[in-house]
Amino acid sequence: ARNDPVTEFFQHSLSNLLSPMILFFALGWIAVLAKARMELPEGMVLAMSYYLMAAIGLKGGIELAHEGWTVTVVLACLAGVLLGILLPIIAFAILRWGGGFSALDAAAIAAHYGSVSAVTFLTAATFLTREGYSYEGYTIAMMALMESPAIAVGLLLARLSDRRATQAEDGPPLREIVREALLNGSVILLVGGLVIGALTGEKAGETVGPFFFTLFQGVLCLFLLNMGIEAARRFADFREVGAFLTGFGLTMPLIGAACGLLSGRLLGFSEGGLLLVAILGASASYIAVPAAMRLALPQANPAYSMTLALGITFPFNVIVGIPLYFWIARLIH
Protein backbone atom coordinates (compact mmCIF):
# COMPACT_ATOMS: atom_id res chain seq x y z
CA ALA A 1 0.00 0.00 0.00
CA ARG A 2 2.78 2.40 -0.84
CA ASN A 3 1.54 5.79 -2.02
CA ASP A 4 2.83 7.30 -5.20
CA PRO A 5 6.10 9.14 -4.58
CA VAL A 6 4.88 12.69 -5.16
CA THR A 7 1.98 12.35 -2.78
CA GLU A 8 4.31 10.83 -0.27
CA PHE A 9 6.73 13.73 -0.59
CA PHE A 10 3.99 16.22 0.12
CA GLN A 11 2.70 14.18 3.01
CA HIS A 12 6.10 14.05 4.59
CA SER A 13 6.70 17.76 3.98
CA LEU A 14 3.41 18.64 5.58
CA SER A 15 3.93 16.32 8.51
CA ASN A 16 7.35 17.87 9.01
CA LEU A 17 6.06 21.43 8.72
CA LEU A 18 3.28 20.77 11.18
CA SER A 19 5.47 19.08 13.75
CA PRO A 20 5.80 20.98 17.03
CA MET A 21 9.55 21.26 16.43
CA ILE A 22 9.33 23.09 13.13
CA LEU A 23 6.47 25.21 14.41
CA PHE A 24 8.57 26.32 17.36
CA PHE A 25 11.39 27.08 14.95
CA ALA A 26 8.98 29.20 12.93
CA LEU A 27 7.79 30.91 16.10
CA GLY A 28 11.33 32.02 16.89
CA TRP A 29 11.82 33.30 13.36
CA ILE A 30 8.52 35.19 13.42
CA ALA A 31 9.41 36.71 16.79
CA VAL A 32 12.55 38.19 15.24
CA LEU A 33 10.66 39.45 12.19
CA ALA A 34 8.22 41.14 14.55
CA LYS A 35 11.22 42.73 16.31
CA ALA A 36 10.19 41.10 19.57
CA ARG A 37 12.32 41.65 22.64
CA MET A 38 12.86 37.96 23.15
CA GLU A 39 16.02 36.21 24.10
CA LEU A 40 16.30 32.82 25.68
CA PRO A 41 18.77 33.08 28.57
CA GLU A 42 22.22 31.92 27.51
CA GLY A 43 22.42 29.47 30.37
CA MET A 44 19.17 27.89 29.24
CA VAL A 45 20.36 27.54 25.65
CA LEU A 46 23.65 25.98 26.70
CA ALA A 47 21.90 23.71 29.17
CA MET A 48 19.51 22.49 26.48
CA SER A 49 22.32 21.96 24.02
CA TYR A 50 24.32 19.93 26.55
CA TYR A 51 21.23 17.94 27.40
CA LEU A 52 20.46 17.18 23.77
CA MET A 53 24.02 16.15 22.97
CA ALA A 54 24.27 13.90 26.02
CA ALA A 55 20.91 12.36 25.19
CA ILE A 56 21.68 11.61 21.56
CA GLY A 57 25.11 10.32 22.58
CA LEU A 58 23.60 7.98 25.16
CA LYS A 59 21.04 6.77 22.66
CA GLY A 60 23.72 6.05 20.09
CA GLY A 61 25.94 4.34 22.66
CA ILE A 62 23.16 2.12 23.93
CA GLU A 63 22.36 1.07 20.37
CA LEU A 64 26.00 0.49 19.57
CA ALA A 65 26.20 -1.79 22.62
CA HIS A 66 23.19 -3.58 21.25
CA GLU A 67 24.29 -3.83 17.62
CA GLY A 68 27.91 -4.62 18.43
CA TRP A 69 30.95 -3.49 16.44
CA THR A 70 30.29 -5.10 13.08
CA VAL A 71 32.22 -4.47 9.88
CA THR A 72 29.42 -2.18 8.72
CA VAL A 73 29.91 0.03 11.76
CA VAL A 74 33.59 0.38 11.00
CA LEU A 75 32.93 1.05 7.33
CA ALA A 76 30.26 3.60 8.22
CA CYS A 77 32.70 5.43 10.46
CA LEU A 78 35.27 5.41 7.70
CA ALA A 79 32.69 6.75 5.28
CA GLY A 80 31.94 9.56 7.72
CA VAL A 81 35.58 10.57 7.85
CA LEU A 82 35.82 10.44 4.08
CA LEU A 83 32.77 12.67 3.72
CA GLY A 84 34.37 15.08 6.15
CA ILE A 85 37.45 15.22 3.94
CA LEU A 86 35.75 15.31 0.56
CA LEU A 87 33.01 17.85 1.20
CA PRO A 88 35.23 20.77 2.25
CA ILE A 89 37.32 20.23 -0.88
CA ILE A 90 34.23 20.48 -3.08
CA ALA A 91 32.99 23.50 -1.16
CA PHE A 92 36.39 25.19 -1.39
CA ALA A 93 36.55 24.65 -5.13
CA ILE A 94 33.10 26.14 -5.65
CA LEU A 95 33.78 29.18 -3.51
CA ARG A 96 37.31 29.87 -4.73
CA TRP A 97 36.92 29.32 -8.42
CA GLY A 98 33.19 29.65 -8.82
CA GLY A 99 32.68 32.57 -6.45
CA GLY A 100 36.09 34.18 -6.51
CA PHE A 101 36.35 34.27 -2.75
CA SER A 102 39.70 34.72 -1.04
CA ALA A 103 41.44 31.48 -0.15
CA LEU A 104 40.99 32.18 3.54
CA ASP A 105 37.28 32.88 3.35
CA ALA A 106 36.71 29.93 1.04
CA ALA A 107 38.63 27.58 3.33
CA ALA A 108 36.84 28.79 6.46
CA ILE A 109 33.39 28.38 4.92
CA ALA A 110 34.35 25.01 3.44
CA ALA A 111 35.34 23.66 6.84
CA HIS A 112 31.87 24.42 8.19
CA TYR A 113 30.23 22.39 5.42
CA GLY A 114 32.48 19.40 5.88
CA SER A 115 31.43 19.20 9.51
CA VAL A 116 27.88 18.62 10.76
CA SER A 117 25.02 20.30 12.57
CA ALA A 118 23.87 18.16 15.46
CA VAL A 119 20.53 19.91 15.78
CA THR A 120 19.67 19.23 12.15
CA PHE A 121 20.52 15.62 12.83
CA LEU A 122 18.33 15.56 15.94
CA THR A 123 15.44 17.11 14.08
CA ALA A 124 15.75 14.51 11.33
CA ALA A 125 16.00 11.67 13.85
CA THR A 126 12.88 12.94 15.59
CA PHE A 127 11.14 13.18 12.22
CA LEU A 128 11.92 9.49 11.69
CA THR A 129 10.65 8.52 15.14
CA ARG A 130 7.45 10.41 14.53
CA GLU A 131 6.93 8.81 11.13
CA GLY A 132 7.62 5.40 12.60
CA TYR A 133 10.95 4.64 10.93
CA SER A 134 14.01 3.30 12.71
CA TYR A 135 17.62 4.11 11.94
CA GLU A 136 21.07 2.70 12.49
CA GLY A 137 22.39 3.75 15.88
CA TYR A 138 25.93 4.09 14.58
CA THR A 139 24.95 7.08 12.46
CA ILE A 140 25.36 8.90 15.77
CA ALA A 141 28.93 7.65 16.00
CA MET A 142 29.46 8.85 12.42
CA MET A 143 28.25 12.28 13.46
CA ALA A 144 30.72 12.39 16.34
CA LEU A 145 33.54 11.40 13.99
CA MET A 146 32.60 13.99 11.40
CA GLU A 147 32.93 16.97 13.73
CA SER A 148 36.64 17.40 13.16
CA PRO A 149 38.27 16.16 9.94
CA ALA A 150 36.84 19.10 8.00
CA ILE A 151 38.66 21.51 10.30
CA ALA A 152 42.02 19.97 9.41
CA VAL A 153 41.12 19.92 5.72
CA GLY A 154 39.97 23.54 5.79
CA LEU A 155 43.23 24.57 7.41
CA LEU A 156 45.28 22.61 4.93
CA LEU A 157 43.45 24.19 2.03
CA ALA A 158 44.06 27.62 3.49
CA ARG A 159 47.74 26.98 4.06
CA LEU A 160 48.25 25.56 0.59
CA SER A 161 46.61 28.57 -1.02
CA ASP A 162 47.62 31.54 1.10
CA ARG A 163 50.91 31.99 2.91
CA ARG A 164 49.28 34.31 5.45
CA ALA A 165 47.45 31.33 6.88
CA THR A 166 50.73 29.66 7.77
CA GLN A 167 52.82 32.46 9.02
CA ALA A 168 50.56 34.08 11.59
CA GLU A 169 53.08 34.11 14.43
CA ASP A 170 50.36 34.90 16.87
CA GLY A 171 48.42 32.01 15.50
CA PRO A 172 47.88 29.18 17.89
CA PRO A 173 49.43 25.77 17.25
CA LEU A 174 47.25 23.21 15.49
CA ARG A 175 46.93 21.42 18.81
CA GLU A 176 45.06 24.37 20.30
CA ILE A 177 42.79 24.66 17.29
CA VAL A 178 41.84 21.03 17.45
CA ARG A 179 41.32 21.34 21.17
CA GLU A 180 38.99 24.27 20.55
CA ALA A 181 37.02 22.24 18.03
CA LEU A 182 36.90 18.89 19.75
CA LEU A 183 36.92 19.79 23.36
CA ASN A 184 33.97 22.10 23.61
CA GLY A 185 31.06 21.06 25.75
CA SER A 186 28.81 19.84 22.96
CA VAL A 187 31.32 17.48 21.41
CA ILE A 188 32.42 16.18 24.81
CA LEU A 189 28.86 15.39 25.79
CA LEU A 190 28.15 13.72 22.47
CA VAL A 191 31.23 11.54 22.58
CA GLY A 192 31.02 11.06 26.34
CA GLY A 193 27.37 10.08 26.03
CA LEU A 194 28.26 7.57 23.31
CA VAL A 195 30.90 5.93 25.47
CA ILE A 196 28.75 5.96 28.60
CA GLY A 197 25.81 4.53 26.67
CA ALA A 198 28.00 1.82 25.19
CA LEU A 199 29.39 0.94 28.64
CA THR A 200 26.10 0.88 30.51
CA GLY A 201 23.89 -0.47 27.75
CA GLU A 202 20.14 -0.92 28.07
CA LYS A 203 20.24 -0.64 31.84
CA ALA A 204 21.00 3.06 31.63
CA GLY A 205 17.77 3.52 29.72
CA GLU A 206 15.78 2.46 32.77
CA THR A 207 17.38 4.81 35.25
CA VAL A 208 18.22 7.89 33.23
CA GLY A 209 15.85 7.25 30.34
CA PRO A 210 12.95 9.23 31.81
CA PHE A 211 15.20 12.26 31.83
CA PHE A 212 17.25 11.82 28.68
CA PHE A 213 14.79 10.12 26.37
CA THR A 214 11.23 10.87 27.44
CA LEU A 215 11.74 14.62 27.58
CA PHE A 216 13.83 14.76 24.44
CA GLN A 217 11.25 16.00 21.96
CA GLY A 218 9.95 18.70 24.26
CA VAL A 219 13.39 20.09 24.95
CA LEU A 220 14.16 19.95 21.24
CA CYS A 221 11.11 22.17 20.63
CA LEU A 222 12.41 24.92 22.92
CA PHE A 223 15.86 24.54 21.44
CA LEU A 224 14.50 24.96 17.94
CA LEU A 225 12.68 28.06 19.14
CA ASN A 226 16.08 29.47 19.91
CA MET A 227 17.47 28.23 16.60
CA GLY A 228 14.64 30.12 14.91
CA ILE A 229 15.66 33.30 16.70
CA GLU A 230 19.35 32.92 15.90
CA ALA A 231 18.78 31.81 12.33
CA ALA A 232 16.47 34.73 11.62
CA ARG A 233 19.02 37.20 13.01
CA ARG A 234 21.77 35.69 10.90
CA PHE A 235 19.51 35.62 7.89
CA ALA A 236 18.83 39.35 8.31
CA ASP A 237 22.57 40.07 8.38
CA PHE A 238 23.00 38.11 5.25
CA ARG A 239 21.02 40.16 2.83
CA GLU A 240 24.12 42.36 2.56
CA VAL A 241 26.35 39.50 1.50
CA GLY A 242 24.99 38.67 -1.90
CA ALA A 243 23.41 36.15 -4.17
CA PHE A 244 26.36 33.86 -4.79
CA LEU A 245 26.71 32.85 -1.17
CA THR A 246 22.96 32.45 -0.77
CA GLY A 247 23.00 30.14 -3.76
CA PHE A 248 25.92 28.28 -2.25
CA GLY A 249 24.07 27.92 1.06
CA LEU A 250 21.17 26.28 -0.78
CA THR A 251 23.20 24.17 -3.23
CA MET A 252 25.95 22.85 -1.03
CA PRO A 253 23.51 20.93 1.21
CA LEU A 254 22.17 19.22 -1.89
CA ILE A 255 25.69 18.17 -2.91
CA GLY A 256 26.40 17.05 0.64
CA ALA A 257 23.15 15.12 0.83
CA ALA A 258 23.90 13.42 -2.48
CA CYS A 259 27.32 12.30 -1.27
CA GLY A 260 25.79 11.17 2.00
CA LEU A 261 23.01 9.22 0.30
CA LEU A 262 25.50 7.60 -2.03
CA SER A 263 27.72 6.35 0.76
CA GLY A 264 24.70 5.23 2.78
CA ARG A 265 23.40 3.31 -0.22
CA LEU A 266 26.74 1.62 -0.76
CA LEU A 267 26.78 0.60 2.89
CA GLY A 268 23.25 -0.76 2.71
CA PHE A 269 21.62 1.59 5.20
CA SER A 270 17.92 1.52 5.97
CA GLU A 271 15.64 4.33 4.78
CA GLY A 272 16.02 6.06 8.14
CA GLY A 273 19.78 5.64 8.12
CA LEU A 274 19.92 7.06 4.59
CA LEU A 275 18.14 10.21 5.71
CA LEU A 276 20.52 10.67 8.59
CA VAL A 277 23.64 10.18 6.53
CA ALA A 278 22.23 12.61 3.98
CA ILE A 279 21.84 15.12 6.82
CA LEU A 280 25.44 14.52 7.91
CA GLY A 281 26.53 15.50 4.43
CA ALA A 282 24.06 18.33 3.98
CA SER A 283 24.38 20.15 7.27
CA ALA A 284 26.99 22.70 8.29
CA SER A 285 28.51 23.24 11.71
CA TYR A 286 27.82 26.39 13.72
CA ILE A 287 29.23 25.36 17.07
CA ALA A 288 32.57 23.56 16.88
CA VAL A 289 33.92 24.82 13.58
CA PRO A 290 33.31 28.58 13.93
CA ALA A 291 35.46 28.84 17.04
CA ALA A 292 38.22 26.70 15.53
CA MET A 293 38.26 28.73 12.30
CA ARG A 294 38.20 31.99 14.20
CA LEU A 295 41.36 30.93 16.01
CA ALA A 296 43.06 29.41 13.00
CA LEU A 297 42.08 31.84 10.25
CA PRO A 298 41.23 35.11 11.94
CA GLN A 299 41.52 36.99 8.64
CA ALA A 300 38.47 35.13 7.35
CA ASN A 301 35.21 36.93 8.02
CA PRO A 302 33.30 34.86 10.60
CA ALA A 303 30.01 36.48 9.64
CA TYR A 304 30.03 34.72 6.26
CA SER A 305 30.18 31.20 7.63
CA MET A 306 27.77 31.76 10.47
CA THR A 307 25.22 33.45 8.26
CA LEU A 308 25.45 30.67 5.72
CA ALA A 309 25.42 27.76 8.15
CA LEU A 310 22.84 29.13 10.56
CA GLY A 311 20.80 31.58 8.48
CA ILE A 312 20.53 29.72 5.17
CA THR A 313 21.54 26.10 5.31
CA PHE A 314 20.02 25.21 8.66
CA PRO A 315 16.49 26.41 7.85
CA PHE A 316 16.76 24.94 4.36
CA ASN A 317 17.67 21.56 5.76
CA VAL A 318 15.07 21.35 8.49
CA ILE A 319 12.23 22.67 6.36
CA VAL A 320 12.94 21.45 2.82
CA GLY A 321 15.83 19.06 3.26
CA ILE A 322 14.43 16.54 5.70
CA PRO A 323 11.38 15.57 3.64
CA LEU A 324 13.31 15.88 0.37
CA TYR A 325 16.24 13.69 1.39
CA PHE A 326 13.88 11.21 2.97
CA TRP A 327 11.86 11.06 -0.21
CA ILE A 328 15.00 10.32 -2.21
CA ALA A 329 16.11 7.84 0.44
CA ARG A 330 12.87 5.94 0.02
CA LEU A 331 13.20 6.05 -3.76
CA ILE A 332 16.74 4.70 -3.86
CA HIS A 333 16.33 2.24 -1.03
Binding site: L46, S49, D170, R233, A291, L295
Partner: protein, 121 residues
Amino acid sequence: MEGEPQLQKLKKLEIVIEAIKLDQVIAIIDEAGASGYTIVSSTTGRGQRGRRAGGGLTNVFRNAMVMAVVEDAVAATILKRLEHLIQHFAGMAVVTDALVLWPDYGRDRSKPASPRTGAAP
Protein backbone atom coordinates in the same frame (compact mmCIF):
# COMPACT_ATOMS: atom_id res chain seq x y z
CA MET B 1 48.11 61.80 58.46
CA GLU B 2 48.83 58.24 59.57
CA GLY B 3 45.18 57.25 59.50
CA GLU B 4 44.73 58.15 55.80
CA PRO B 5 44.76 55.25 53.36
CA GLN B 6 47.83 55.34 51.15
CA LEU B 7 47.07 55.14 47.45
CA GLN B 8 49.45 54.13 44.71
CA LYS B 9 49.51 55.97 41.38
CA LEU B 10 49.25 53.43 38.58
CA LYS B 11 47.78 52.82 35.15
CA LYS B 12 44.41 51.20 34.78
CA LEU B 13 44.12 49.13 31.61
CA GLU B 14 40.71 48.08 30.37
CA ILE B 15 41.00 45.57 27.58
CA VAL B 16 38.12 44.42 25.41
CA ILE B 17 38.93 41.25 23.52
CA GLU B 18 36.99 38.58 21.69
CA ALA B 19 36.12 35.80 24.11
CA ILE B 20 38.14 33.05 22.46
CA LYS B 21 41.30 35.11 22.95
CA LEU B 22 40.73 35.88 26.61
CA ASP B 23 43.12 33.17 27.76
CA GLN B 24 45.87 34.64 25.65
CA VAL B 25 45.28 38.14 27.00
CA ILE B 26 45.45 36.79 30.54
CA ALA B 27 48.72 35.09 29.66
CA ILE B 28 50.07 38.39 28.30
CA ILE B 29 49.05 40.18 31.49
CA ASP B 30 50.60 37.50 33.69
CA GLU B 31 53.83 37.38 31.72
CA ALA B 32 54.16 41.16 31.84
CA GLY B 33 54.29 40.88 35.61
CA ALA B 34 50.95 42.40 36.59
CA SER B 35 49.95 41.86 40.19
CA GLY B 36 46.44 40.85 39.19
CA TYR B 37 43.45 41.40 36.95
CA THR B 38 39.67 41.35 37.05
CA ILE B 39 37.51 39.81 34.33
CA VAL B 40 33.98 40.61 33.21
CA SER B 41 33.53 37.54 31.12
CA SER B 42 30.56 38.32 28.94
CA THR B 43 30.12 41.60 27.16
CA THR B 44 28.84 42.53 23.74
CA GLY B 45 29.68 45.47 21.55
CA ARG B 46 30.40 47.07 18.23
CA GLY B 47 33.66 48.18 16.68
CA GLN B 48 35.43 48.37 13.35
CA ARG B 49 34.78 44.67 12.85
CA GLY B 50 31.03 45.03 13.17
CA ARG B 51 28.54 44.13 15.86
CA ARG B 52 29.44 41.38 18.26
CA ALA B 53 26.11 40.60 19.85
CA GLY B 54 26.71 37.29 21.53
CA GLY B 55 24.39 34.38 20.79
CA GLY B 56 23.98 31.33 22.94
CA LEU B 57 25.72 28.73 20.80
CA THR B 58 29.22 29.98 20.14
CA ASN B 59 31.48 32.54 21.69
CA VAL B 60 32.81 33.68 18.35
CA PHE B 61 30.66 36.80 18.65
CA ARG B 62 31.16 37.54 22.32
CA ASN B 63 33.68 39.84 23.99
CA ALA B 64 35.38 39.67 27.34
CA MET B 65 36.63 42.66 29.32
CA VAL B 66 39.71 42.58 31.52
CA MET B 67 40.75 45.30 33.92
CA ALA B 68 44.32 45.36 35.20
CA VAL B 69 45.94 47.98 37.37
CA VAL B 70 49.67 48.00 36.74
CA GLU B 71 52.85 50.04 36.81
CA ASP B 72 53.69 52.13 33.74
CA ALA B 73 56.33 49.71 32.48
CA VAL B 74 54.02 46.74 32.80
CA ALA B 75 51.33 48.65 30.95
CA ALA B 76 53.77 49.35 28.14
CA THR B 77 54.71 45.69 27.84
CA ILE B 78 51.08 44.58 27.78
CA LEU B 79 50.07 47.19 25.21
CA LYS B 80 52.95 46.23 22.97
CA ARG B 81 51.87 42.61 22.85
CA LEU B 82 48.22 43.53 22.52
CA GLU B 83 48.89 45.79 19.57
CA HIS B 84 49.84 42.77 17.55
CA LEU B 85 46.96 40.61 18.78
CA ILE B 86 44.22 43.10 17.96
CA GLN B 87 45.36 43.34 14.36
CA HIS B 88 43.71 39.99 13.79
CA PHE B 89 41.23 39.66 16.61
CA ALA B 90 38.48 42.02 17.71
CA GLY B 91 39.69 44.11 20.59
CA MET B 92 40.94 47.40 21.98
CA ALA B 93 42.53 48.76 25.13
CA VAL B 94 41.88 51.87 27.18
CA VAL B 95 44.47 53.36 29.55
CA THR B 96 43.62 55.73 32.40
CA ASP B 97 45.52 57.19 35.30
CA ALA B 98 44.35 55.80 38.58
CA LEU B 99 45.10 55.71 42.28
CA VAL B 100 44.88 52.30 43.84
CA LEU B 101 44.15 51.04 47.32
CA TRP B 102 45.76 47.67 47.91
CA PRO B 103 45.76 45.52 50.97
CA ASP B 104 48.91 46.20 52.96
CA TYR B 105 51.14 43.16 52.48
CA GLY B 106 54.22 45.25 52.88
CA ARG B 107 53.80 45.73 49.14
CA ASP B 108 56.01 48.20 47.33
CA ARG B 109 54.33 51.56 47.42
CA SER B 110 56.82 53.77 45.78
CA LYS B 111 54.62 56.78 45.22
CA PRO B 112 51.90 57.15 47.81
CA ALA B 113 49.47 59.87 46.81
CA SER B 114 49.36 62.71 49.27
CA PRO B 115 46.01 64.08 50.32
CA ARG B 116 47.06 67.39 48.92
CA THR B 117 48.59 66.57 45.57
CA GLY B 118 46.79 63.37 44.73
CA ALA B 119 43.18 62.89 43.94
CA ALA B 120 41.52 61.06 46.77
CA PRO B 121 41.19 61.34 49.59
